[in-house]
Symmetry: C2
């Protein structure tokens, strides 16, 4: 019997407790021993839970219990999650988390603490919910140099785009619907402004390229400026707009990493990812394009990924998994100004100056405005050209990257 | 240093040798030791290979070499692959194969031999080429009951459908193009008649449900009867035709498994899998729909999956992976006649009798023919109704399942 503690009994935590109970037989077969939920940490009371006798409000009950070998952290946020996780690892317990903020902020340190204490720190559920991605990236694709990872990493924003495309809703109505359906938080900033997607691409990039990338070092643009008009013009040009997290190697060995809305050609497999689904495209030098698709959030999908990690920890109590990266000072991240991209630019009026600043663009007239599909430029140059246009009265109504995936 | 032998130096085998050479550093880091190619078995001569000194024509050089811990089998076919693999496992060596015919025919026995000898028998590359699917299914989805697996498992047939849909080619021209491009064999039967897809769905089903399913027990229908007309009518009804391998649990605990062309709604994510790509959809009770996408064949994609398994074997020389299933007599497979499906049926003329035999169908007139999109029936009933139509002069021009994925 292997004793497990769960810290947090919210959506994901209660799902973890549920799966450990309902899938007991299958998990027993996989581990070769029973997984026993010994403690559940939560400040609230759950008198009606079938596991009511396991609840505690005192973290010390968990960290000091030498029988507990695997601790699940599903509290969210970094305080007190960071301290709790670190102390569990220091006590030689393996820790499984779904907490992307924690991993994106403290992953390198916690992986190092785990290593020092011969424990495992696993976080499959932190990216893509129930979609297997962390393990395939570290195991199945081990015989590849990863060239690029690009993903639709946030289901809420993808849902909003879907409503704009299919149901002609404008951004604020689609956001309100997402909130009413429980997909978006009352304060939707982390989703809408791209912070959630940023944490996830940071985790994937850290794993694939071996050095920690902190969200603060990553150019992040959200979707709140995307208008229904742009969605429609994109559609007529055979593109869809998606919020993409992207990281790729540059020629000088740095990493070009960003989160931004992008126009994707309808031929791109990521353009077919609809509703609240996530899709993560990995380009390997040997495999070519591989994509992982599924629900990126939700109680049971996320909890099932957590439990798969618990099984892995339980089977490797004395061995370490090779999921690891080292800390870094961020110097491997290229300036966003050097990142090259083609652009969708919509300007008021005939766009004569725009056409001269972005020669050889594809041009489309759009209800008194002009849409340019430009050639590739460094983003720094694009910013300068856009500033020049605005200064000279040729107002830039929208400017969106064109993805090249 | 861990010595590896490679049996077969064809497309995949030479890819394995190439990756083990070109990705030496990355693999060293992953394993913690060097992977050294000690022997390559092939009856042909490769004097110009950088590994020319490692070639042998004698299998005994491999099986009797106690330094060899991992053997890669990429010869294809079952003779002599089956004997060679079995003897290697009996000698306590772990074996990695990309040979779907071998796994589909002898998987249960070879897994048992591996277990007896405390060795591993891994075959990630046997399904989906470079797409990680065997490991995610056995590891990441361990906290799920798998309800259904459905996939586009054969790139060649998918390429042919793509040419029919997009380039208006008829079946035989598209097949010829596939052959000219090297996607299809000169004898294309294994692809076209669905045998290749059948082997793959058998492997996935055996793994997901724990008992060996032999291809001989699986209803398998190929794509050679699909006409350009049907592709067009399907398109106009908002469907695409794909060759699908599908397995799902029935209410009485049996497995409903088959390979057949199906109409898929354009809303289904598998309908977006184009060209030679594969897509494998796994429906878990907790994760919901998860899909894995990538190139299902090709030298380096397949070889990279083989090498990932070699790494896994090298890291688990004394431990066993939990990939396992037991033998079976096929009694868990439900009769294809009991499998329920809605049908696309095209009959010559007005189809009055068809409409009375398949009441409540959606009806479309089609160039003097009639297309019915029927309700769900057991396939046995459908066969009887179709026989009755043909006997009564209302000729059935085509009958294709409608997928419900």
């Amino acid at each position: 019997m292997i004793s497990v503690a769960i810290m947090g009994h919210g959506t994901v935590g209660s799902g973890v407790a549920e799966i450990l109970t309902t899938h007991k037989q299958k998990l027993f077969k996989a581990v070769g021993e029973e997984l026993y939920v010994k403690h559940i940490l939560d400040l609230r009371e759950f008198p009606d839970s079938p596991l009511a006798d396991r609840f505690t409000k005192n973290f010390e009950d968990i960290v000091n219990d030498i029988e507990v070998r695997v601790v699940v952290e599903v509290m969210g946020g970094t305080n007190p999650a960071y301290d709790f996780v670190k102390r569990c690892l220091q006590a030689g317990k393996s820790v499984v988390t779904s907490n992307k903020e924690l991993v994106a902020k403290h992953g390198a340190e916690l992986l190092a603490v785990a290593k020092e204490n011969n424990a495992n720190f696993l976080f499959e559920a932190s990216v893509g919910g129930g979609i297997p991605i962390i393990r395939p990236l570290s195991q199945c694709l081990v015989a590849n140099e990863v060239d690029e990872i690009a993903g639709i990493l946030n289901g809420t924003t993808n849902f909003i785009f879907g409503k704009m495309i299919n149901d002609n809703m404008d951004f604020s109505d689609a956001l309100k619907l997402a909130q009413d359906l429980g997909y978006a938080e009352r304060n939707p900033e982390a989703d809408i402004e791209g912070h959630d997607a940023c944490r996830k691409i940071c985790i994937l990039a850290s794993l694939a390229f071996g050095k920690h990338i902190y969200p603060d070092n990553v150019y992040t643009k959200g979707i709140s400026e995307i208008t229904l008009d742009d969605v429609k013009y994109a559609d007529s040009l055979n593109y869809v707009i998606k919020l993409i997290g992207d990281v790729k190697k540059t020629e000088d060995g740095k990493l070009d990493i960003l989160v931004a809305p992008m126009l994707l050609s309808k031929d791109c497999i990521l353009s077919d990812i609809n509703d609240v689904f996530n899709g993560i495209l990995v380009k390997g030098d040997c495999t070519g394009d591989v994509m992982f698709y599924g629900k990126g959030a939700g109680k049971l999908p996320t909890a099932s990924a957590v439990v798969a990690d618990v099984v892995d920890c339980a089977k490797h109590l004395k061995a370490r998994k090779r999921i690891f990266w080292t800390d870094s000072d961020g110097s491997q991240v290229a300036s966003y100004k050097d990142s090259k991209t083609a652009m969708y630019i919509r300007v008021a009026g005939k766009g004569e100056m725009a056409q001269s600043l972005f020669p050889d663009s594809e041009i489309m007239k759009a209800d008194g405005n002009t849409v340019l599909m430009t050639q590739e430029y460094k983003f720094g140059e694009i910013e300068e050209k856009i500033a020049k246009l605005n200064e000279n009265g040729e107002k830039v109504l929208s400017a969106i990257r064109i993805g090249n995936l």
